[in-house]
């Protein structure tokens, strides 16, 4: 399997087909179908428990559906070796999950190391996420939350895969860091020609970063539109309700400044 290619236009397609995943009889994902074009930056929005993280975990087989199929580049992933599949997909967590006993350089280099691939250029990987080369020998505990997540993103990209999955990556960060890191991610997406899925509960973040926003509720898609469509209304009542929150906040802020 090759997820990585040199040309941005070759970024992988992703498709869910009537996927159902139940925990103890309760559906987390309910007969969901979704097609994501190569090179798309897609934001998955929804309340806690809506199934957005679960949907992400289905892509690299951290979860396996009871029904339906997941395709990458029109290949059914249930027939793929999960270990090789995961090595080709970058994954970023809210709680980062850096290996505390390894330096920053070791944390980044571990990805090609376990796959038996070429050693990675750590300095270049750090520069890509906006960190100086001097960070290479530090341990995760010596870094701030934002710096840790930058290393987490560098690690996710170190495998050279063209697909990046991010599960609330900025959830634990302060708003300033959060905004800056979001822009870094969008820039990397464009520069490297990735297919990116960002799970977030923050509609404003989704609207500002993504090409396409999908709203989940109870394991089903309740809205699916571009940010422009969402802001103009007509993406459905659930989307309207979510868009209304940042918009009203902005209006109230504007009111205060007057």
């Amino acid at each position: 399997m090759r997820l990585s290619t040199d040309s941005p236009t070759d970024a992988p397609w992703l498709a869910f087909e009537k996927v159902t995943l139940r925990y103890d009889g309760v559906s987390a994902i309910d007969t969901l179908s979704l097609k994501i074009a190569g090179g798309c930056f897609l934001a998955l929005v929804g309340e806690s428990g809506s199934g957005k993280s679960t949907l992400l975990r289905l892509v690299n087989r951290l979860e396996v559906p009871q029904e339906g199929y997941v395709f990458i580049n029109e290949r059914d992933i249930s027939g793929m070796d999960p270990i090789r599949l995961r090595r080709g997909i970058g994954y970023v967590f809210q709680n980062v999950g850096l290996f505390p006993h390894m330096t920053v350089a070791e944390n980044i280099a571990i990805v090609p190391r376990i796959a038996g691939g070429e050693p990675v250029d750590v300095a270049a990987a750090l520069q890509r996420v906006g960190l100086p080369p001097s960070f290479a020998d530090r341990f995760p505990a010596m870094l701030s939350g934002g710096e840790q997540q930058r290393v987490g993103i560098a690690r996710a990209l170190a495998g050279g895969g063209k697909m990046l999955l991010m599960d609330e990556p900025f959830g634990a960060l302060d708003p300033v860091t959060r905004d800056r890191l979001g822009r870094t991610c969008r820039a990397l997406h464009d520069e490297l020609g990735l297919t990116t899925i960002l799970v977030t509960h923050d509609m404003a973040e989704a609207l500002l970063l993504a090409d396409r926003v999908v709203v989940l509720a109870q394991g089903q898609i309740v809205a699916d539109a571009t940010p422009r469509q969402m802001l103009c209304g007509g993406a459905g009542p659930e989307a309207d309700a979510l868009v209304r929150v940042p918009r009203e906040q902005a209006a109230r802020l504007a009111e205060l400044a007057r």
């Binding site: 270990i83 290996f99 006993h101 376990i114």
Partner: protein, 504 residues
């Protein structure tokens, strides 16, 4: 003191070998079991519960339990699984070391942040890579602390291996306790403590090295541990050739006779090892199975114990029957009697007006019996108890040396004494006569294992002792070791006895 120090190197070697083997085996079991237990909570509960239960059994009891267990297993497979010596000690110590290792491996693995484990999965680590690259290094400092605890416990508990016939630093401790040779006790204790401290320090360096990721220190300390074990075990290689083992039970006379026999065997060119502090039943079984080559037992002990006889016969008939029984059954050999008896007898302080067991029976309900550790479980006690209807106000068990102290201090009124004991004459004790002849004879007999039964060279080395030790000589030798001040070591008493025999 020099004498005490001289016998330490081979004991240290055996002690280190046993401790290292037990710890190694415990690691071999504990590490995979701990990893499995950390992943399956049900298995973890069962494994930690079982290991915790083992830990509540006193060390000595755990060792003792393995003796009948291994005998049963050996009988089951019809093979020769040794029930004494290295194997039971190894198994008991391994079980003992398992809990701290298991507990800390599980704690170390369970303490890892779930996010770290999830990240390992998400970047595509195989289960083995996750264990090797992430879980093992993160759990290592906690696991190493458990290994360190296990090592120190094992080295301490290994002193108890002496009781199942494996030589360890417990030998001087137990022998010294029996003969009140405190320098021996101290030598054993200090040597065991030093071993434990050195091990603790080295493993501590490894533990801190792992925690601080100082690979060099870890490797250096590991090399020191391996080199230390190899160095300590070196004396074992030197004394491998033609070693014979002399057994001894747990009282002074046995220690002296073992040295007397050992010196003769050394003079004949054998390397001699000693297994001391064996219980009566254990000693004869050890002889039958070849774990020891030679020891001294008593006709009455064999008669009522191993032969399970209830009748009493005259001395000559008894010896003839024992000889026949040995040749027919356990294939061991009775070389001959040494010439004295060490019979069980009840003894009292003088002045009570009691001279026989018949007199005693009347007064017994107001008196306290002090017995040695095995007397109350022995058929001899049942024989005189039933023959004279003896019922005491209380009975207490002591190690032989403390039993005489108890009699002198009035804690006991009557004790189970031995006719060859030097303290009987020294303390002017009254030995109660046995008018109904309820007690069998206790001739000291020189016994050899099946392998030595036809070994002419071996027999020639020890048979000059037959019928050459009168009871007075034995009492004197015993008293040299047992008396409170100016006491001699068993070696010195044996040398005195050897000179006495040669002078005859």
């Amino acid at each position: 003191m020099n004498e005490a120090l001289a016998q330490l190197p081979p004991l240290v070697a055996n002690h280190v070998l046993l401790s290292a083997a037990a710890l190694g085996l415990a690691l071999l079991i504990g590490l995979p079991l701990g990893i499995a237990a950390s992943r399956r909570p049900a298995l973890g509960t069962v494994a930690l519960g079982a290991a915790g239960l083992v830990q509540t059994i006193p060390g000595l009891a755990l060792l003792a339990l393995f003796y009948p267990l291994l005998l049963a297993v050996s009988a089951l497979v019809g093979g020769r699984i040794p029930a004494l010596g290295f194997l039971p000690a190894l198994l008991a110590l391994t079980l003992y070391a398992l809990l701290p290792i298991l507990r800390n491996v599980v704690a170390g693995l369970r303490g890892i942040d779930p996010a770290v484990r999830q990240a390992a999965d998400a970047i595509g680590m195989t289960a083995w890579q996750r264990l090797r690259l992430v879980e093992a290094p993160l759990a290592a400092p906690v696991a190493m602390a458990g290994i360190r605890t296990a090592a120190v416990w094992t080295i301490g508990a290994a002193t108890l291996a002496t009781t199942v016939g494996y030589p360890s630093l417990g030998n001087p401790i137990f022998a010294g306790l029996q003969t009140e040779a405190w320098t021996l006790v101290l030598a054993g204790c200090i040597a065991a403590a030093l071993l434990a401290i050195v091990t603790d320090v080295l493993l501590g360096v490894i533990e801190h090295g792992i925690a601080r990721r100082q690979r060099g220190r870890v490797i250096a300390a590991l090399i020191a541990v391996v080199a230390g074990v190899a160095l300590a075990c070196a004396p074992l290689l030197a004394t491998r050739a033609r070693t014979v083992t002399v057994g001894a039970k747990n009282f002074s006379e046995q220690y002296i006779l073992a040295r007397l026999i050992g010196k003769r065997l050394e003079a004949a060119g054998y390397h001699v090892a000693y297994r001391e502090g064996l219980g009566s039943a254990v000693a004869f079984r050890a002889l039958s199975s070849g774990d020891i080559d030679v020891y001294v037992d008593y006709s009455g002990t064999l008669w009522t114990g191993a032969m399970a006889r209830r009748d009493v016969k005259p001395r000559a008939a008894m010896l003839a029957e024992i000889t026949r029984w040995m040749a027919a059954g356990p294939k061991t050999r009775l070389v001959g009697p040494l010439g004295f008896e060490n019979a069980y007898a009840l003894a009292m302080r003088p002045g009570a007006g009691i001279v026989s067991l018949a007199d005693l029976a009347v007064r017994a309900p107001r008196l306290t019996l002090g017995a040695d550790l095995e007397f109350l479980d022995r058929p001899e006690w049942r024989a005189i108890r039933d023959a004279y209807s003896l019922h005491f106000r209380a009975t207490r068990a002591y190690s032989p040396t403390f039993m005489y102290r108890a009699l002198a201090s009035g804690q006991a009124d009557v004790i189970s004494a031995f006719s060859s004991d030097g303290r009987i004459a020294a303390d002017h004790l009254v030995v109660l006569s046995d008018p109904r002849e309820a007690m069998p004879h206790y001739d000291a007999l020189l016994l050899v294992s099946p392998a030595r039964a036809g070994d002419a060279r071996f027999l020639a080395a020890i048979s000059p002792l037959v019928n050459r030790i009168p009871v007075e000589a034995m009492r004197t030798a015993n008293y040299m070791v047992d008396r409170d001040s100016g006491k001699a070591s068993p070696e010195a008493a044996a040398a005195w006895l050897a000179a006495k025999i040669d002078a005859q």
